[in-house]
């Protein structure tokens, strides 16, 4: 059963200039859905629009069957939709613990401390650095903090925008292994990635986005060897049958 459903979404940063042009995707429970595509395909804009950071001018976003298209960005996390941006995804002048506390602010006060402690158990590296300014963390640690911060409210769906960007191959492996663990816990993950090989290795299904809409959908494991992927990246085929 699909938890997240996006139907014919149209979105953009300026009136009359759509970046996302009728994209439709879905994600089922405990599924990792990978969104790939060439530069400028609208991948980041699509998940930012779903998260409420880009203006939606058409289409629908449903979470558990509830229409959240017009729900403001700050209320989407309360509905169960978490988003980790590609860059600037932590508050650098706050400590690690404060970064988690500010995200836990939407929980009842009685649960806040317990949830932060739970996250520190899941992310022991962060626990050791709880008093450090987040801006002093390494790239991998920042990404871990961003993911931990998104998970603290126990969302239904976690969307990540290029979590491997700027990380070494070893760190990419660590981050993606963490995402697999998170999926094992029953969370649905929507992953926008440029690192197609690494993302497809952990994904269940994949979409290839071209010019603001999905051009192909299929099983993630077989897509890497499918010639359609290269074709769509190179722009030779616009729409798969």
């Amino acid at each position: 059963m699909s938890i997240l459903q996006v139907r014919e979404l149209v979105a953009g940063y300026e009136p009359g200039l759509s970046i996302v042009k009728g994209a439709s995707i879905y994600a089922a429970e405990a599924e990792i859905v990978v969104i790939l595509g060439p530069n400028g395909a609208g991948k980041s804009s699509l998940i930012k629009a779903i998260a409420g950071l880009v203006t939606i001018t058409g289409g629908q976003v449903l979470l558990d069957g509830v229409d959240i298209t017009k729900v403001p960005a700050h209320l989407k996390i309360r509905a169960g939709l978490a988003f980790v941006p590609q860059t600037d995804n932590i508050f650098p002048l706050m400590t690690v613990a404060e970064n988690l506390a500010v995200a836990a602010g939407i929980l009842p006060r009685a649960q806040t401390a317990a949830r932060i402690d739970e996250v520190f158990v899941s992310f022991p590296d962060l626990a050791r650095q709880r008093a450090l300014m987040a801006g002093s963390l390494s790239g991998g640690q920042r990404q871990m903090l961003a993911v931990a911060r998104a998970l603290i409210v126990r969302p239904r769906v976690l969307m990540l925008d290029e979590p491997s960007a700027g990380l070494s191959p070893k760190l990419v492996e660590q981050v993606f292994a963490q995402l697999c663990d998170i999926r094992q816990a029953g969370l649905t993950i929507v992953l926008v990635e440029q690192n197609a090989r690494a993302a497809l290795a952990i994904g269940d299904r994949a979409y290839v986005l071209v010019e603001g809409r999905e051009a192909h959908e299929g099983p993630a494991r077989t897509l890497w060897n499918d010639p359609i992927l290269a074709d769509l990246y190179l722009g030779q085929r616009r729409h798969a049958s």
Binding site: G52, H74, F83, P85, D88, F91, L93, A101, V102, I106
Partner: protein, 298 residues
Amino acid sequence: MTLQFLLDGLIAGSMIGLGAIGVTLTYSILRFSNFAHGDFMAWGAYAALAVVGVLGGSTPMGPLSFGLPLLLAMVAAMGLTALLALALDALLFARLRARGQSIIVVMASFGASMALRSLLEFLFTSQPTYFSRAIQMAQPVGFGMRITADQGALLILTLVLVTGMHLFVQRSRRGREMRAYSQNPALAQVVGIDVAAVVRATWVIGAALACASGVMVGVLVQIRPLMGLDLLLPIFAAAILGGIGSVPGAVLGGLIIGLSEAAAVQFVGAEWRAAVAFVILMAVLLVRPMGLFGVAER
């Protein structure tokens, strides 16, 4: 040589620092320089004066020139000034902020400043007025320095307000949200922070502290429609010197400006007092634009 200028500078710096907190918060969270902030001080002082009048005057308490009614009036005036700031935001600034051009908002704050000042002159005339006309005797406190009871009380009030404000920003949930929003507005929304609530808190805190500062000026000096305009440059200099976004920085900046002005009066001449804030502002912008506690833009 007398060290009285240190005490005078500390007192002036307290009032400047309280005003600078609002400026620094508005700039770091709402992303614009609010030139109407000084007028919140004047409106706050006049609001307190009006409330004291309704309460039937302020009978002096001990050695002070004011009593409990003025303190109650100040609390009420802080609320009224906060309402004024919220109304101004709803009617003017919020609409212009939505267009995303901060320079338009800055220019609008100039206009709002002139309108607020003119309205005060219309309502209360441009003649100075006072909370009390009683003359206080300054008491010696050592090293050749003297202080009046009012000055001592207002220094304590400043300490209480600044400490409370610091604890609020550092420890409270709303304070954390304000800091988070000032660092990254988009991410703040993603983590569930209600932007409208943060904006309201910023106006309420800034305006309330501006009012407290205005009442202090009114108690120690006089109340005039132009009192906020006179303090605008020192307040901005203090906010920039301390580092935009830093509450302790704004207070420290205020104390440095106040002490520098007092030192200029003592050692150079009273006519140079107003130039000091300008010189410090220029020096900070040239040497360390991010200020004492500020962080360079990434």
